[in-house]
């Protein structure tokens, strides 16, 4: 199968300092992949190379077999990091989404009836119906993320590219966004995201690409998320815990045990005994632990027992 996007021996840098090098990467139609790596690993630069806003210093990028060099721009639906959006800009949800149709825009400044209908349908599809005239600042984090997802989708892209869609939003919203992306992927959309959240990537994504200036490894998280690969990617001491279908990744603290540094001993205990926990599900370990803590605190307040912050195993 011909890859949708193909990067051949790509290098990019500022001056003599390489930001990324020796990058060979294929993104196939229908793939849902995450670029993971530490800050400064070159994730955003690699994303911009694929988006066509940076030009490689070496190598070739093709989309559907056509080189992206020069004026050829890929048809990409891009969702930037929420932190980079100017939330004070006077723009409504409808106007923001309509920007996605810029490739098909006429010179007339007002949207056509067909464009207005398209925007309304897209907003309905992403549960944003009724918010068309709201200012983008007056939305929740999840709604804001979906507005820019709507702008990306309305462009009828070949691929959706999202820069850190799980950062700047709470845990539940991040979960919802990843579920929504998984649904879109089920409908055939090719999706590439960057993320710092390895646990969310492990729980939701079928393919991860570990990057630290060059590609360290890529494949399904259950194959790629090993201590050896993550240590090389993050240049740190990574802890990978596996329980049934769940993978939990954490960085080992230097010179301490979890019991020393974590906010309460119970979390350290839980991590140390993760393989014996059978009640936790994907991505909900923290919530489970919090609930147990609260329960114990309540019991203590009722004077039944002296608080012993240990987790039942």
């Amino acid at each position: 199968m011909q890859p949708l996007i193909e990067l051949k021996n790509i290098a990019f840098g500022y001056g003599k300092t390489p930001v990324v090098k020796d990058i060979d990467l294929h993104i196939h139609p229908g793939q849902f992949a995450a670029l993971v790596g530490p800050s400064g690993a070159g994730k955003t630069s690699l994303l911009k190379l694929i988006l066509g806003t940076l030009q490689p210093t070496h190598g070739q990028i093709t989309m559907n077999g056509v080189s992206l060099q020069g004026r050829n721009k890929p048809r990409v639906g891009y969702v930037p990091q929420l932190e980079t959006v100017d939330w004070n800009f006077p723009v409504t949800v409808g106007q923001a989404v309509l920007m996605g149709r810029i490739r098909n825009a006429t010179l007339w400044p007002w949207p056509s009836r067909a464009e207005r209908q398209l925007v309304a349908e897209m907003l309905d599809r992403l549960d944003l119906g009724g918010l068309i005239n709201r200012h983008i600042r007056d939305l929740s984090g999840g709604q804001q993320q979906r507005v820019f997802l709507a702008r990306a989708l309305i462009a009828e892209p070949d691929i959706l590219v999202l820069d850190e869609p799980t950062s700047g939003v709470d845990m539940r919203t991040a979960e919802n966004v990843l579920h929504l992306l998984a649904d879109l992927n089920q409908q055939g959309m090719t999706i590439l995201i960057t993320t710092h959240d390895l646990n969310a990537a492990a729980a939701h994504l079928p393919w991860v690409i570990c990057l630290n200036r060059t590609i360290i490894a890529q494949g399904p998280p259950e194959v790629v998320f090993t201590e050896a690969i993550l240590n090389e990617t993050y240049q740190g001491d990574m802890l990978v815990l596996r329980h049934e279908q769940m993978i939990f990744v954490h960085q080992r603290p230097h010179g301490h045990t979890y019991h020393d540094i974590l906010p309460n001993p119970v979390l350290g205990h839980a991590l140390a005994n993760a393989t014996t926990l059978d009640s936790v599900e994907n991505g909900t370990m923290m919530a489970e632990i919090d609930a147990m803590l609260q329960e114990q605190d309540t019991e203590n307040q009722e004077g039944q027992n002296e608080l012993v912050r240990t987790l039942p195993v």
Binding site: K73, T84, P90, G100, P109
Partner: protein, 280 residues
């Protein structure tokens, strides 16, 4: 008092027409200037154009052509410096436009014999506008309006987020270049009317006043243009009766309107907060 009295004079009719046109044009461009965070560019670029005006006089070029090319090059240099270096817009504007102004000042001190008054370029001479000035302002205002009308969607996206706009296929370099050209033209047309020192206010004040009044981009444009035109007209009339320079009166009126709107919106926000607090 007969409010129509000043309109019996041709110089006043010309001045008022130009003040309304310049007010509306600056209000229109000002929206993009303010939202791009380049409020200082009007101030800086008008100083740069002053340098170009002096050079064009010394070289015996046509004023509009010489100052226009000079201003356009200064605007492009600012854009390219910001785009290609680590220098921020405010610093780039400061360096390029002040250096250009310095060229003008140096030339004035070197060639002391000028037949054209540069006082008008510095402080404006709204009552001394000629028929040629009226025609130039009208043409430039039309060009600016047509450019913004047909480039509305591209300009909106580029102003909101230039990098993302580029990903979506907007040729932002072209948009920025054309915008610089249009801005330079508007400043040159306005310079003889409002003067180098007052243009920045005419660009920025109606736009920020409109921003306080609305969260909609379309409404912000309409309000900014409307405020620019109304303050141009009323400023002219008031200046006639209080016998104060017209350019200064227009800007003072705009500043007063801004202060009023700021006070009203601040009180409204406080009242809303109090209402929410009461309900909570």
């Amino acid at each position: 008092m007969n409010w129509l009295e000043p309109f019996q004079f041709e110089f006043f009719r010309n001045g008022t027409l130009v003040a309304v046109l310049v007010g509306g044009m600056c209000g229109l461009i000002g929206v993009y200037i303010v939202l791009r965070g380049m409020s200082y560019i009007g101030h800086g670029l008008s100083h740069a154009i002053f340098g170009g005006a002096v050079v064009s006089f010394v070289m015996q070029w046509n004023f509009y052509l010489g100052a226009g090319i000079w201003g356009f090059i200064a605007a492009l240099l600012i854009n390219q410096t910001v785009r290609r270096t680590k220098i921020n817009a405010d610093a780039a504007i400061g360096v390029i436009t002040t250096a250009s102004f310095a060229v003008g000042v140096a030339l004035i001190s070197r060639y002391r014999r000028f037949t054209r008054s540069f006082d008008a370029a510095l402080f404006g001479n709204i009552l001394g506008v000629t028929a040629q000035d009226v025609a130039v302002v009208a043409i430039v205002a039309m060009v600016v309006t047509i450019f913004i009308f047909f480039m509305y969607k591209q300009l909106l996206f580029t102003t909101f987020d230039a990098e993302v706009a580029r990903v979506y296929g907007v040729r932002t370099e072209w948009i920025d270049t054309l915008f610089a050209l249009v801005l330079a033209a508007a400043l040159i047309a306005s310079m003889q009317i409002l003067g180098v020192t007052l243009i920045a206010a005419a660009l920025v004040i109606p736009a920020i006043t409109a921003r306080l009044l609305t969260d909609s981009f379309n409404r912000m444009i309409l309000l900014s243009v409307g405020l620019g035109m109304v303050s141009g007209f009323l400023g002219m009339v008031i200046s006639y009766y209080i016998d104060v320079a017209s350019g200064a009166t227009i800007v003072m009126l705009q500043a007063a309107l801004f202060g009023l709107v700021l006070a009203i919106t601040s009180i409204q926000k406080q009242a809303e907060r109090r209402l929410i607090h009461t309900h909570v």
